[in-house]
Symmetry: C2
């Protein structure tokens, strides 16, 4: 594994955590009025595409990154639907 | 270019547009109180990592996808700072 590979894996690890601050903020504030539902629906569909791509490429880094993201995305969609007008 | 490549490019195209609905919603509503600034700061740093990775790998798809994302992310950070308490 060379330095470029390490950069790629690190970038994947950061990508996997992107939605976490929004999930925590919404969970804490119980409000999501200004958060775009469409952003998370697009992200959800996109993560299904990436997981399919990862499976076809047999690339565990892509699969794991996007399974984490789709999980957070699902939690965020649930929170948004729960607190959409709050 | 095979079917798996086409899936990968399509996934990149959708990824590039992920933040657009949030940018448009915030632009329209002039409010971003419930939007996590930290999410977009993490995404911004992450996109610098991905652009560096794309440059080192000489992968134009990764570069273009993340240049679009970092542009939207920068707009969203500006909007969030402008409307953070509205």
């Amino acid at each position: 594994m060379n330095a470029v590979d390490i950069l790629g894996y690190s970038a994947c690890a950061v990508t996997a955590l992107t939605f976490l601050p929004q999930v925590l903020k919404t969970w804490k504030e119980k409000s999501a009025r200004n958060v775009s539902l469409m952003m998370f629906i697009i992200a959800f569909i996109n993560e299904i595409m990436w997981i399919a791509y990862g499976v076809l490429r047999e690339d565990m880094v892509i699969i794991v990154t996007n399974v984490i993201m789709i999980t957070m995305c699902s939690v965020m969609i649930s929170l948004k639907l729960k607190y959409r007008n709050v």
